[in-house]
Structures are given as C-alpha cells and as structure tokens.
C-alpha cells in the first residue's frame, strides 16, 4: 500500500504530463505522451528503487516532469513553420461577396425592425378584393376627400344598381375614448358600416366569435399602434369594453400595421349597423363611399383611374361625382421595385459600358469552368445588389411613413432605381478589373508612356493580378487599334515572381 503523499505526487506528476501534452500539436501528441510516460516510469524506477517514499526523490521526479512543459512549448513553437499560410482575402471575390452579404443583412434586419417598413413589406400578406373604387365629388386620384353624405350612401344602397353590387361607408371622427382602466384618450375613430372589411376582402386576425357576438354592443377594432400605445400590447384585449364618445363598444381585435390602405389614418374602427350609423351620424355628414364594381361596371371602368358617374339625388338634381380607382394604394411594393429594376437595366448602357473587356492579345484563354465561375460571380453580384436595393429602398422610403403615402411610394421607386442603376454600374466596373482566372482585383497600376509625348507608341495604365495570372492594359486614349482594355494572360514562366500564384480564391 503506497502512502497518500506518494499517490498525491504521482497524480500531480501525471497531471503535469497531461496538461503539457495539450500544448503539443495534435498529430504528435500521442507519441509525445507515450515517450514521456515511459521515461517517467524509468525515472521513478531509478530514483525510488527501493519503493520507499522520500521527499528528495519526489522533488527530482517532479522537476523531471516540469521539463515536459518546456518540451511541449518547443514543439508548439514549431507550428507556424509547419502550418500552411492562410489565403489572403484582400481583393478576393469572397471578400466582395461577404461585403455585399453584410449590406444585405443590414438592410434586411432594418426592414424587419422598423415597424412602418415591416408593415409595408407585409402588405402582400393581406388580400384586397379587386374591382373597388372610391366614389367622391372630386376627380383627383391622389387627394381623396370625404365628400359623400350618409344620406346618399343609404339612398344608393337602397336602390338597385347596374354598375355596383355592394357599398360600404365610413367616416373618420376624432373622439374621446374611455379605456377599461378609466383613462381618457383622444382617438381618431372610423365609424364604418359592418361590411367594410368583408367588402375589402381583408383577412383579419379577428376572432369570428367576437364579431358574431349577440351582444348589443358594436364592435371596435384597434390599430396596431393604438394597441401598443394605450393597451400596452395586452394579448387579452379582445372582449374588453371601451367607451367611444358616449357609445360603449367591445374590442374585437387588432389590425396589423400596413393592412389598412384606404384614406385616413384611424386609431380604431367602430363597426356599426345601418340603424346605428343613422342614429349617431348626421345625414349630411360627409364620408368615404367604397363601391365594388359589378362585372358590367368593371367592363365600363376598364383600366381607367377615374370615371365620371351620372347620378341624380332624391330631388332629381344632377350630381357631378367620380369613381376613382385606388389601385395605386393597393400596389404591391414588389411591383414598384420590379418596374424600377427594369428601368435601371434599360438605363444601364447609358451610364457605363456593358462589355467586360474580354479582348486579349495572347493565345492563352481561361478554361470554360473559369469562364463560367466568372459569369456566376457577376450574376451573384447583380442578384445581391438587387436584393440590397429592394430592402434598402423600403427602409429609406417607409421608415417615417406610418401609413400609405404616395410620396413614400415615389421615394421607394426613386431609391430602387438609383441603387439598382449605380449598383449594377459598380458591379460591371468591378468585374472589368478582376482577373479572369482567379477573380481577384488587379492591382499595382503603372503608367506607361505619356499621351502628349508619344505619337504612335502605346500609352496607358498596366495593372497586374497578384496571383501572376494576367496583366491588364487600359489605354489612356482609346484609338481605333486599341479601343478598350485588354488582358494579357501570363504563362507559367512568370510564376517565380509571384509568391501566392497557387492560392486561388474562387
């Protein structure tokens, strides 16, 4: 039986070898440990031959084990000499793609974090019925105004129509609301007919049971902003009762941001029956009248933005009213971007040369695989630039617009067009300065000759690929015999000049 001190020293010495072995490079570790374990056994056998515990002997063995740390460190210091040098990323295609991906990630994250932008980009999730028009006394397609009285709405709704098969009416009123917590708030409330959301065809996250409640109380739907501001994002808000003006109403749900595209920026929608609307609204009070075109009406309206409607009121007087399409408000932001992208592609030849400087004056050409990789790289840049343009234009145009704004839509178009145009221009000019073999940017520009001093001699800028694959000649003054840039492919006899010619970064 060995004494505890002996066991403790053995454990310490073994631990020292084990810790030191962690410093040894992996491939050599097992053999290194085997040698030191073997040597340790022989040292123990030699120093403690009789088997009795002695402090000087243990000190000597421990000192021997301490040497293993120095040995392991020496082996570790040899790693940099044996390890392969890391490939340089500067100017490499991977670096370019990484930067574009980083920009895309930033713009994408911003579009998800900015609530207004998120509402606009999520707009496509909400279906809106086609064939809807706004009826008003003005022919303006941009500035919608509440011009139709409740009396006229009720008159139209009560009579048979040829061009319309359904109507909905709403008007925005600023009212004081009393919350369940007895706090008073000023809200912009849309008093709307019951069918407003079904006419629009909006799939709302509102519990049907709440809407179908046989309660006498009218239903109120909150905007996302109001729900966050006045109800602290309470998930159990549905079913609570609020008082709007003098009228109690039951909360049915919350409309997501960006779902409402009709004129006005209400905080809440109070859905009322015809009788309730008539009881709480003056017959002459102006509001918005939404109509759904019948098949005959759609054929008559065609693709026009505004059509005059001949109408007579109850007194048989002629009314000058117009049916205005608000299709622009229902336009998918992707359509706006798609149009801007098309225009940018059409305008691209006007701002830069669309050739890639493919001409060369040597017989050597890159392989088909290399050529394909080059085209894939260019396509990837175009794709990334277009994606960045989409999200960045949404961010820049909609971050400060809480609701639909024609100005923001124009802004989105302008930003999309600009980013696409100048992004594609950059992608082409960047591609022209990348070695066709390894796709790294050429560098070390050298001016050769001076245009004012040479008559027939070549003058321009020469750049070279750091991998030693190519030289790029760019003429200072394009001539009929040297109009554009040319690539000179270097053969293997140049390799000795370039240290990392074998390090391709594609």
């Amino acid at each position: 039986m060995k004494p505890p001190a002996d066991r403790a020293f053995r454990a310490l010495q073994n631990s020292m070898l084990r810790v030191a072995s962690l410093l040894v490079p992996g491939p050599r570790r097992s053999e290194w440990r085997r040698e030191w374990q073997s040597e340790l056994w022989h040292v123990r056998h030699s120093v403690c031959g009789c088997g009795a515990f002695s402090w000087p002997a243990q000190r000597e063995i421990t000192a021997f084990c301490l040497g293993s740390l120095k040995d392991a460190l020496c082996l570790r210091q040899e790693i940099p000499h044996t390890r392969e040098p890391a490939p340089r990323i500067s100017g490499a295609p991977a670096q370019c793609v990484l930067r574009l991906c980083a920009l895309l990630a930033v713009s994408l994250i911003a579009s998800r974090l900015l609530p207004n932008v998120r509402g606009e980009s999520d707009f496509t999730r909400y279906h809106v019925n086609p064939g809807l028009i706004l009826i008003q006394t003005s022919s303006s397609t941009e500035n919608f105004a509440p011009t139709i009285s409740l009396a006229l709405y009720r008159d139209w709704k009560g009579t048979r129509q040829r061009y319309f098969d359904e109507f909905a009416f709403y008007r925005n009123v600023h009212e004081t609301a009393s919350l369940p917590s007895r706090r008073l708030r000023g809200w912009t409330v849309t008093h709307a007919s019951l069918n407003i959301f079904t006419l629009l065809g909006m799939d709302l996250p509102v519990e049907p049971a709440t809407l179908a409640s046989d309660s006498d109380l009218p239903v109120v739907i909150l905007s996302d902003q109001l729900w966050r501001r006045d109800f602290a994002s309470d998930p159990d808000v549905a079913g609570s009762v609020v008082r709007i003006g003098n009228q109690p109403a039951r909360v049915a749900g919350v409309i997501p941001r960006g779902a409402w595209r009709l004129p006005g920026e209400p905080d809440a929608w109070l859905l009322e029956s015809e009788s309730s609307l008539a009881a709480h609204t003056s017959p002459a009070a102006p509001g918005y009248l939404i109509a759904h075109l019948s098949p005959l009406g759609q054929a008559f309206m065609g693709r026009g933005a505004c059509v005059p409607i001949n109408m007579r009121n109850a007194e048989d007087d002629n009314l000058d009213i117009f049916g205005v399409s608000f299709a622009g408000r229902l336009q998918d932001p992707r359509e706006t971007f798609g149009f801007a992208l098309l225009l940018a592609l059409l305008a691209l030849p006007a701002v830069t040369s669309v050739t890639l400087g493919e001409s060369n004056y040597s017989s050597h050409r890159p392989s088909r695989k290399r050529t394909m990789i080059r085209w894939v790289f260019l396509a990837a840049k175009f794709l990334l630039v277009a994606s960045i343009a989409y999200f960045a234009s949404l961010d820049l145009a909609w971050w400060n617009s809480s609701n639909y704004s024609p100005l923001a839509e124009v802004g989105q178009f302008a930003w999309s067009f600009s980013i696409c145009l100048f992004g594609f221009r950059w992608a082409l000019s960047d591609q022209r300065q990348r070695c066709p073999v390894c796709l790294r940017r050429v560098s070390h520009p050298a001016q050769v000759g001076i245009a004012s001093r040479t008559f027939l001699g070549w003058n321009g800028i020469e750049m070279m690929c750091v991998g030693g694959h190519t030289l790029l000649h760019v003429p200072s003054l394009p001539t009929s015999w040297f109009g554009g840039q040319r690539w000179l492919y270097l053969d293997s006899s140049w390799e000795f000049l370039f240290a990392d010619s074998g390090t391709l970064c594609c």
Binding site: S38, H42, H45, L66, K70, D71
Partner: protein, 105 residues
C-alpha cells in the same frame, strides 16, 4: 557547413552521449547532468535537423523485462559527421563522455 557552425556545446554533448551509447532521454540526462527541459527539446531539434533518428523498442523486449518500451535514439550519417567536426571544436567533449565508460556500464 551551416549546421556545424550552429551546433551548441549542449547539442554537441547530447550527440556525444548518444554516440557513446546513452541512447534514451533519461540516460542522457544522467550522463550530461542537463535537466529534462533542456535535453528533450534539444533532441527534438536534432531529430528535426536529421542529425539523430528515433526508434521505439520492440514491445516483446519491454514485456519480457516488465517495463514500458523506450524510445531509443541513434546518430545518422550527418549527425556522425557533425559530431566529428564538433569534437575538433570542443576537444574536451570526448573526455567528458567517453565511449569506454558507456561500454563498461
């Protein structure tokens, strides 16, 4: 010869010890009086520079003697040539570690 110029006295002592028959780490330590933290790293460098070569003892021999196998070192041709040159540079090297002493052990 660049290697000859770089060979230190310690490295020459270790080469001389191996040449004299002290063919494993602990015996070299005992013979030269150098600590383990000096002997083993020096042997790694000598092996890296192809002056010595190592070889594990056969397991059957170690089993017969009821001990773990040892790693033995021997001089290469280059190592022998370098040691000869080092003996001229360090004349006391042979007297410090003589071959006869090793053979008598």
């Amino acid at each position: 010869m660049a290697a000859e110029a770089k060979l230190s006295h310690t490295a020459a002592m270790i080469l001389q010890a191996i040449s004299a028959g002290y063919v494993y780490g602990f015996s070299i330590m005992e013979m030269t009086g150098l600590p383990s933290g000096t002997v083993y790293p020096a042997m790694r460098r000598l092996e890296r520079d192809d002056l010595i070569r190592s070889q594990w003892e056969k397991q059957s021999i170690a089993d017969a003697e009821q001990r773990p196998p040892r790693k033995y070192y021997r001089l290469t041709t280059t190592g022998t040539a370098i040691l000869d040159a080092s003996r001229k540079r360090y004349p006391l090297l042979e007297r410090l570690i003589s071959t006869e002493e090793a053979n008598s052990r």
